[in-house]
């Protein structure tokens, strides 16, 4: 089976998002693999291990510094990484467009059997790229899956909805965006890290041809305005809360 995994880099959770003279300053931010992409990659590798002769190819649009992150992804079980260091896409639609071209360029006429993406990137949380990509590639797709059963004939997945679960059925080729809970990503072993050094990371060009659909007009520091009132005991708290309009 041919499996593609789309990876992106996000600031690591310990990074401080700074502002310098009013502008966003990401110079001190450490980039890591988007946490949801780890679940996507893990699922791809698990399927590869079940279906003999499968290949997991990683697609990443990022600055060349993302190589380090891709090494980790290769150590987790990817076979080959393709890094597209190009003009930074301005919005999700441009990202999806570039990814779709990168995937069709690599696989040619025949689409990969499976494409996995994280549910969303933790920095912008738009959750748009995966299904835009599916739509551009013309693949069946489901977002935010928490369970996957793949057979040669087709795929069963589950996704969480408000207060319940939906079970879906679909065919190959298919694209999934992955929610936390689908699996527990493996820890990389020293052996896997050594092996990953021999796996190829190709730096490839990709053109930016779509015009953007959305522009970011400003990014400002978020200022919390709340003043906290310390209450003495539960009695006082209930008194204050029950005075609030229409809470109960």
């Amino acid at each position: 089976m041919h499996i593609a995994v789309c990876l992106c880099q996000v600031p690591d959770t310990a990074s401080v998002i700074d502002f310098f003279e009013g502008a966003l300053d990401l110079s001190r931010v450490n980039g890591v693999m988007n946490p949801f992409d780890e679940y996507a990659l893990e699922e791809a590798v698990r399927i590869k291990e079940r279906f003999e002769g499968s290949q997991v190819t990683l697609f990443c649009i990022a600055p060349s510094s993302a190589k380090e992150m891709l090494r980790k992804a290769l150590a987790m079980g990817g076979d080959r990484a393709l890094l597209f260091s190009t003009t930074e896409p301005a919005d999700t639609f441009q990202t999806a467009g570039m990814l779709s071209r990168a995937i069709t360029d690599y696989y040619g006429e025949v689409l990969p059997d499976l494409v996995f993406c994280g549910k969303h990137s933790t920095d912008f949380q738009s959750a748009q790229v995966p299904l835009m990509l599916a739509e551009l590639l013309g693949m069946e797709s489901v977002s935010a899956i928490i369970k996957l059963e793949a057979s040669r004939a087709g795929i069963h997945v589950e996704r969480e909805i408000e207060g319940g679960i939906e079970s879906l059925e679909l065919h190959y080729p298919a694209l999934f965006s992955v929610e936390k809970g689908l699996n527990v990503p493996r820890k990389t072993t020293i052996k896997a890290v050594m092996e990953a050094r021999k796996k190829p990371i190709d730096l490839l060009p990709v053109t930016l041809s779509e015009s953007s659909c959305v522009t970011i007009t400003s990014i400002k520091p978020f200022v919390r305005e709340k003043k906290c009132r310390v209450v003495q005991d539960p009695k006082e708290l209930v008194l204050l809360l029950t005075h609030a309009e229409a809470l109960f």
Partner: protein
């Protein structure tokens, strides 16, 4: 001239409150922008009696009440929305921000070549700077970004407002319901196909609850019994921080935070949650925040309206008792 189309989502024949809230907000926006008209599309069999007098304002609610739309089918839904957008010549499509709209909206944005803005607070600033702008937190809540659409067609998935309770607009006007002719394409079996939808019995979803009682690791596994009791008493839902879910004490569906849900309840009670940035980002639009924690320097207090410093295991039983007393007297 702006024409708004509001997608009304039903699950098990009941129109979602968040959808009705979105309809009301579209009506408010239309009132601010002369010449704007609002229509709605209700997809799937649902009792429109529920809508009687509830969504006020002007406009037509188109109801696709075919059985084929009872369960969500991405392709059938996509085709229906595209058709309806054309029918009413809509320029703007509003969804409530739900699991369904997060799945459907990106597909539609490609089909319609529309600008898509997800998870946005559509407020009164919507009409400024040429129109259609909205804001939402990014980078785990450290920053707030303004997004502007560039295409003539726009799609929004709107986050709930904690400050306002979804109430009918009493302008005297009443929306009318038009039942759509059955479409010829719905007999086709289109994939992905939702085979089943299983709802959790008696559990209120944390993303939709007006009151959330959330716990952190300090609660201990058994301590969540107290939170469940309090949530039941107040008609709310239980939420959990990431460590709690990682420990396996609570399901991921209850997780609030960067890798969980973003919530906007009217009341958020954080018990033994210290307040990691990822957690705080997800409760940024909550109404009243109450924090109970033994550490007076816990970051959760920076975002709380009311603080109760002390041991949750001692304070919670008292709090439950006080609430019970209050509810009895009322």
């Amino acid at each position: 001239m702006n024409t708004f189309l509001v997608f009304l989502e039903q699950r098990e024949g009941v129109v979602k409150k968040s959808s009705i809230d979105t309809w009301n907000r579209a009506q408010e926006l239309a009132a601010l922008h002369p010449g704007a008209a609002v229509s709605a599309l209700l997809v799937g069999p649902a009792s429109t009696r529920q809508l009687d007098g509830c969504p006020g304002g002007n406009g037509v609610i188109y109801h696709a009440n075919e059985e084929a739309f009872r369960l969500y089918n991405p392709e059938h839904y996509t085709r229906l929305v595209v058709e309806t957008m054309k029918r009413v010549a809509a320029t703007t499509l509003f969804f409530a921000d739900t699991a369904l709209s997060r799945d459907l909206a990106p597909r539609l944005s490609v089909r319609l070549k529309a600008s898509l803005l997800t998870g946005c607070a559509v407020d009164d600033a919507w009409g400024e700077n040429g129109g259609g702008c909205c804001q939402r937190p990014v980078y785990s809540g450290a920053a707030i970004a303004s997004f502007a659409p560039c295409r003539p067609l726009k799609i929004y998935t709107c986050t709930p407002r904690a400050s306002r309770i979804s109430s009918p607009i009493t302008s005297g006007a009443r929306a009318s319901v038009v039942v759509l002719e059955p479409s010829s394409s719905t007999s086709e079996e289109l994939f992905p196909l939702v085979r089943r939808m299983a709802m959790h019995e008696g559990v209120r979803d944390v993303a939709e609850a007006r009151i959330i009682v959330a716990g952190g690791r300090g609660m201990g596994r058994a301590g969540f019994g107290l939170l469940e009791a309090l949530a039941r008493l107040l008609g709310g839902a239980v939420g959990a921080s990431r460590p709690v879910v990682d420990e396996g004490w609570r399901p991921h569906a209850e997780q609030i935070g960067q890798t969980g849900k973003t919530v906007a309840p009217a009341l958020y009670l954080a018990c033994a949650i210290s307040g990691a940035p990822q957690h705080l980002a997800a409760i940024g639009s909550a109404g009243i925040v109450v924090a109970i924690n033994c550490d007076p320097h816990a970051p959760i207090f920076d975002v709380a309206d009311y603080a109760l410093v002390g041991d949750v295991h001692l304070l919670l039983p008292k709090l439950i008792e006080e609430f019970r007393e209050f509810l009895k007297k009322r």
